[in-house]
């Protein structure tokens, strides 16, 4: 206890430091670190080493080796580098190793050296090569920034959702900047670069010159710059041996220091001093380390959450340990054990030496229907490893049919995907599959597939009705659905041009289709329509006025109203208008014209097939009692009372009703006996009723 402070040494006036070894690295390096590209993942993650032979002038005869170690130097992976020259290495927040090649291609590896994917930083790079690259971390994920041989910057703020941003040109930039870094401000990534005595800030839109406040004079070049992990702070090292520390926004200076060392440092990084919220910068030269700092930092490192810790364990394939932690912490299944098991399963499917059946069975046995386990995710992983058959087997365990669809599509099992989509009841999903099928199959096969799936068929038909009329026609053709084809052409005839010929042609096609459909009624009706259209056109030419698209009834009415009685009758004969209709029609039209003379003549032309009550009614409607009475006398006995009442002849109505001994009619007349003069009539009816009852 007495030597508690023994290993602490004073540093300045008020601070002390001590040095002790936390642990020793387990690795046995064949290369010197200085000859390697090195990348250490944040939060004590893995370390990647790549001996960098490309920097030497002569071409590499030996392929370099990419090695991955744990933070304590345990070897995790080692592989021969077979790809192109690498400019920079870095770890993403998900512990994926990003290797930026000179040609702009970025290769992505897992913790265990497993190749994941690759992407390119743009075509421009192919020509100009990558001079320098940085991997950086923001709240959105991990990004890559590159500097090309043309001294242009390109960056992607999130490699998980790759969107390349080519930054604007720096005016007059002829050589590479002396130093540069990425910044993240207001949720947007920027680039800060130094050219001689000047600093420039690049964002998507512009390049602006910036000056740090309170910068000591005499600087002719910046040798190093460092930004803190949270992007809050910035440190600049100048050729005068001067260090400026301030906010990354360049709005505030925190402190400055002159170390009088003019040699460019090898490295400069921000760190936090133990047991203090202050931040400091560590500057390293070949044989010297310097700590500079006085900046209060309000935010501490965010702690690793349990989820992240579990992720880390899973990445290191320490599944049993992860599960024990979940159980110990009593995490809900979905967040805990299920997730670990799902990860395990994803690892399991990569074991190529085990047969599809065995893997599928093993996974199903362990997972069963644990809540929160997505078999489709596991299957997707299996497919990713090239094991399509295994993927299909695994998908069969997926209870939600909708979840199976995206992978089935990817695996080009579109027809199976279609049935699964239909099963899910999600019409949007069905539609998605349909569009896939449409592109994948030839038209005939596509239609055949639809034919067996009525739900999908009607969905697609609806779409075609609005967006692809021609396809709709083809669909009907394919099915020999002549009835619908007929309807289709009729619709087309309405959509068609003004020209009558075009319409008639469309209608003729419809007629043919209807005959094929054995729908004689529709065929005949359409032929009639064609006849009517032609005739209406002729009427318009000869008589003027509007006839087109009137119904047959209205065409005849219009003719009568225009005084073309002969034409009207001809038309009625040609189209075999039934007598009853014709009588109703003429009656209405003549009454509208108030042509009472013609109406009377018409009424006498032969015995009315609709009786004479309608004549009485229509005259009364036109307030012509005089004419109405003429017809009232001709109304048959059944309706006589009604007619007489209509023309207001209550007394005679009473007589008829009494004569007919019809109780209902008697009541009806009685209800009309309202006037003062009707008293006698009412009495008469009452008497008749009484008499009838006596008998």
């Amino acid at each position: 206890m007495d030597c508690y402070t023994a290993n602490w040494n004073p540093l300045g006036d008020s601070a002390f430091y001590r040095k002790y070894e936390l642990y020793s690295m387990d690795w046995s390096l064949k290369e010197e670190l200085r000859d390697c590209l090195v990348a250490a993942a944040p939060y004590g993650g893995p370390i990647a080493l790549l001996r960098n032979p490309w920097r030497k002038e002569k071409a590499a005869s030996v392929r370099p080796v990419l090695e991955i170690y744990s933070a304590s130097g345990m070897p995790l992976a080692s592989l021969l580098w077979k790809s192109g020259p690498v400019v920079s290495l870095g770890w993403s927040a998900e512990e994926e190793l990003l290797c930026v090649q000179e040609d702009g291609v970025v290769l992505v590896y897992g913790l265990h050296g497993d190749f994941r994917r690759h992407f390119s930083m743009g075509n421009e790079v192919l020509q100009n090569r990558v001079l320098d690259a940085r991997i950086f971390h923001t709240e959105f994920g991990s990004g890559v920034a590159i500097l090309t041989g043309a001294h242009r910057f390109t960056l992607s703020a999130n490699v998980g959702d790759l969107k390349l941003r080519r930054m604007p040109e720096v005016p007059g930039l002829q050589t590479a900047p002396s130093c540069w870094t990425t910044l993240c401000q207001d949720r947007v990534a920027h680039i800060l670069l130094a050219v001689g005595p000047d600093l420039y800030l690049l964002d998507h839109a512009a390049c602006s010159a910036v000056t740090p406040p309170g910068l000591a004079p005499g600087v002719s070049s910046f040798l190093q710059m460092a930004v803190s992990f949270t992007y809050r702070h910035l440190a600049l090292f100048t050729d005068t041996g001067y260090i400026w520390m301030g906010t990354a926004s360049l709005k505030e200076k925190l402190c400055e220091f002159n170390c009088n060392i003019r040699a460019p440092p090898k490295q400069m990084v921000w760190c936090s001093r133990p047991r203090s919220k202050e931040k400091a910068v560590v500057v390293a030269w070949e044989r010297r380390l310097m700590v500079v700092g006085d900046a209060p930092e309000s935010i501490q490192y965010k702690q690793l959450t349990i989820q992240v810790l579990l992720d880390r364990l899973v990445l290191r394939r320490l599944y049993p340990l992860a599960i024990q932690i979940c159980e110990y912490l009593r995490l809900p299944e979905v967040q805990g054990v299920s997730r670990i098991l799902a990860h395990w399963a994803c690892y399991k499917v990569q074991q190529k030496d085990v047969s599809d059946e065995d893997v599928a069975r093993a996974i199903n046995q362990k997972l069963g229907d644990t809540p929160g386990v997505s078999y489709s995710d596991i299957a997707a992983r299996a497919y990713g490893c090239g094991r399509t058959e295994l993927a299909i087997k695994l998908l069969e365990y997926e209870p939600r049919s909708g979840e199976q669809v995206p992978l089935l599509l990817k695996m080009k099992r579109s027809k199976l995907a279609l049935s699964k989509a239909i099963e899910s009841g999600d019409t949007d999903l069905v539609f998605t599959v349909l569009l896939h099928l449409k592109n994948e199959l030839n038209r005939g096969d596509f239609f055949m597939t639809l034919r067996n799936q009525p739900m999908a068929l009607s969905l697609y038909r609806q779409f075609c009705k609005h967006q692809e009329l021609e396809t709709l026609k083809d669909l009907y053709n394919q099915d020999d659905n002549h009835q619908e084809l007929g309807s289709f052409h009729i619709r087309a005839s309405y959509a068609a041009q003004e020209r009558i010929e075009g319409r008639v042609t469309a209608l003729q096609t419809a007629v043919d289709a209807f005959y094929k459909a054995k729908n004689e009624f529709a065929a005949k009706a359409t032929e009639d329509q064609m006849r009517l259209l032609r005739l209406q056109r002729r009427l318009e030419d000869e008589l003027g006025g509007q006839f087109l698209d009137l119904s047959l009834h209205d065409t005849v009415t219009t003719l009568i109203l225009g005084g073309h009685n002969k034409r009207a009758e001809q038309l009625a004969r040609d189209f075999r208008i039934p007598d009853k209709r014709l009588w109703w029609l003429k009656l209405t039209a003549l009454a509208d014209l108030e042509d009472w003379e013609e109406l009377e003549k018409f009424s006498k032309s032969k015995k009315s097939p609709i009786g004479y009550l309608p004549f009485v009614e229509i005259c009364m409607k036109q307030h012509n009692k005089y004419e109405a009475k003429k017809y009232a006398s001709r109304v048959g006995p059944e309706q006589k009372v009604k007619a007489l009442l209509l023309v207001g002849d209550v007394a005679q109505a009473a007589d008829v009703a009494i004569e007919r001994r019809n109780e209902a009619e008697l009541s009806l007349v009685l209800s009309h006996c309202t006037g003062a003069t009707d008293g006698a009539t009412a009495d008469k009816i009452q008497r008749a009723r009484a008499q009838a009852q006596k008998k």
């Binding site: 809540p371 939600r400 009841g425 999600d426 019409t427 949007d428 539609f431 998605t432 569009l435 067996n452 009525p454 739900m455 068929l457 009607s458 969905l459 038909r461 609806q462 779409f463 609005h466 967006q467 009835q483 309807s487 009729i490 619709r491 309405y494 959509a495 009624f521 529709a522 009706a525 359409t526 009639d528 329509q529 009517l532 698209d549 009137l550 119904s551 047959l552 009834h553 209205d554 189209f575 208008i577 039934p578 009853k580 209709r581 109703w584 029609l585 209405t588 609709i610």
Partner: protein
């Protein structure tokens, strides 16, 4: 006069929460486009929107000008355009035309499309095809349940009927399932669940899936509504095709109630202005007559007018203090009542006038004859005359359909001749209407006797075979018989009347059709609720062509209060009529239940027929 509820009738849940939810979500969406913006609203969404958020709320959230979505170039000068639309392809093309016009003019604006109640992939695809997918941002306003009244929720989706029952389009089923899911999240799970019809079954299955996926919080909740009953409109077309004679239905048939309110024209208001009136339980006068047979309404209103007069007259003997009291406390209420009273009296007069002109009595007589199945020839002639005289295209069509369904299809001769007459009267384009009606099973031709049974047995065999059932699915309506007469007999839909049916004191649900007919849909609901299952209704279910499509799911009811078990949510897929609502309200009062109605839209015979009609482009 309006029937009071039984004292033990349960309280209705508070559905205003749905409005608040919808409003908050809309505001959230509008705020996603910060700054001033012009809002383009689809015509169909205007009235529902108005019930959720009025103009001043929109203005508060920086909506500058409001436009109707119509096929015209936009005059808006705003830098930000927001479109509130139904997910329809024609809307997408409209938006595309605006955006592309801007592009041509070199103009850059921000565009946002809010789909209600949900977006469809097909819409996004059209945006992509039109080359503007990257220029607009898309959002969903999941507003699918509008409380029109204390016991009535509407999805305001009239196109549901045509889309599903004519085109076989199942897109909206997901919307229904989502709406039911929302209800169970807010009001607890439904312990008892019944349904009939293919759409009902699919909606139910999809809804269950949603509940299972969520796996959740609703499970622990106490149910507020004890029963839910889903039914497809196509299992009872007859009721929807009848003329309505209960006041609310009659007002709907005559003036069209739109989104819970009605526009009374000058002939009703007896002034030169039209007046928009909200029709719901808050209108005290309306609330007392809405479920009444029309023949009682006039008498009731005049009695009410006399009472009102008497209350006004009390002023005469008052001293100053009493008068002051009267003016400050009662007068406003009386005046309000006075205003409503005169409007409803005006509406009644206007209805009477229209009905006498059309010889309403004859029409009703024909309808009753069709329902009872006598004097078929006479009814057919009546319909023919109706067509010959061009009384009304929609009415003629409705009568033809009623004849077809009650008679299991028209005999071939009538089928041809009525159609021919119809085309001559109303125009050849209706050939397409007839093709639609046939597909939907509304107007069909009787197959000759023997072959019919052969087809029927073949179809029923196919239906029991599940895979084949799917194939025949889309075309099943063609082979379906309505079997109305047999069903009517089994369920006793035509009450035997000894003497006059007293419409003032109804004795069963038939009063909504003057005592002539108990609505089939309501009778089925009554029977199932009574049995708490479909047991003993096998024959009816078979006749309804729903052998595989009737379901019941009951859970333990220990958590449900006895009060909640007397609340029943009835879901009409494809629309319900006010007559059905009145009938079930009556049933509820008789049995001490309360019904809550959820419908894809309010419908009536004219709306059904219009949905099937083809009009020239």
């Amino acid at each position: 006069m309006a029937f009071p509820h039984r004292p033990d009738a349960p309280e209705l849940p508070d559905f205003s929460m749905l409005k608040r939810l919808a409003r908050d979500q809309l505001i959230y969406l509008l705020e996603q486009l910060p700054g001033k913006k012009d809002l383009f609203i689809e015509a169909d969404l205007m009235s529902p929107l108005d019930r959720i958020a009025n103009v001043s709320i929109l203005k508060q959230h920086e909506v500058d000008k409001l436009y109707k979505v119509e096929n015209k170039p936009a005059l808006s000068s705003s830098e930000q355009l927001c479109f509130l639309v139904r997910p329809r392809i024609k809307n997408m093309r409209y938006i595309a035309s605006l955006v592309n016009a801007d592009k041509l003019a070199g103009r850059a604006r921000k565009y946002k499309v809010i789909f209600s109640p949900q977006k469809f992939y097909a819409c996004e695809m059209v945006l992509e095809e039109e080359g503007i997918y990257g220029d607009v941002s898309c959002d969903e306003w999941a507003f699918s349940l509008l409380p029109l009244d204390v016991d009535l929720l509407s999805m305001e989706l009239p196109e549901f009927f045509r889309d599903y029952f004519l085109e076989g389009d199942q897109r909206w089923i997901n919307t229904v399932a989502q709406a039911l899911h929302l209800l169970s999240t807010l009001y607890g799970p439904f312990p008892n669940c019944y349904g009939i019809g293919r759409c009902a079954k699919m909606s139910h299955e999809l809804w269950r899936k949603l509940e299972e996926e969520e796996d959740g919080e609703a499970k622990g909740r106490r149910p507020e509504i004890g029963h839910i009953f889903l039914l497809d409109r196509d299992m009872d077309f007859v009721t929807a095709l009848c003329s309505q004679v209960v006041y609310e239905g009659l007002v709907d048939d005559t003036f069209r109630i739109k989104c819970g309110s009605v526009d009374f024209g000058p002939e009703v208001t007896s002034s030169d202005r039209s007046l928009k009136l909200l029709l719901n339980a808050e209108d005290k006068v309306f609330n007392e007559i809405r479920n009444e047979h029309f023949s009682n309404v006039f008498g009731f209103l005049s009695q009410k007018a006399r009472n009102l007069q008497a209350q006004y007259d009390r002023r005469r003997g008052m001293d100053i203090k009493q008068m002051k009291n009267f003016v400050s406390q009662e007068l406003k209420g009386l005046k309000q009542e006075h205003r409503l009273l005169s409007l409803h009296i005006g509406a009644c007069e206007s209805i009477m006038k229209k009905k006498t002109k059309q010889d309403f009595q004859e029409l009703i007589k024909t309808e009753h004859a069709l329902l009872e199945g006598f004097n078929i020839r006479e009814s057919t002639s009546y319909i023919e005359e109706h067509i010959d005289r061009q009384v009304s295209p929609i009415e003629s069509l409705r009568l033809m359909c009623l004849l077809s369904i009650t008679e299991n299809g028209l005999i071939p001769k009538d089928y041809r001749s009525l159609k021919t007459q119809y085309l001559q009267s109303y125009g050849p384009e209706h050939l397409l209407t007839f093709s639609n009606l046939r597909r939907a099973g509304l107007l069909t031709e009787q197959a000759p006797g023997d072959t019919l049974t052969a087809v029927e047995s073949k179809v029923s065999k196919l239906v029991t075979d599940k895979a084949a059932g799917k194939i025949t699915d889309a075309f099943s309506s063609l082979a379906k018989r309505s079997n109305f007469r047999a069903i009517s007999k089994k369920l006793n839909l035509i009450p035997r009347v000894d003497g006059e049916y007293d419409l003032k004191v109804p004795r069963d649900m038939a009063y909504v059709f003057s005592g002539a007919y108990v609505p089939l849909s309501c009778r089925v609901i009554e029977q199932v609720l009574e049995r708490r299952s479909w047991q003993g209704l096998d024959e009816v279910v078979r006749l309804l062509n729903c052998s595989e499509l009737a379901f019941a799911g009951l859970t333990k009811e220990d958590k449900a209060s006895s009060e909640s078990l007397r609340l029943i949510l009835v879901v009409f897929l494809g629309g319900c009529t006010f007559s059905e609502i009145s009938a079930l309200r009556f049933l509820g009062r008789e049995k001490g239940y309360r019904f809550i109605f959820l419908t894809t839209a309010i419908t009536n015979s004219a709306r059904l027929m219009e949905a099937m009609s083809e009009v020239k482009a």
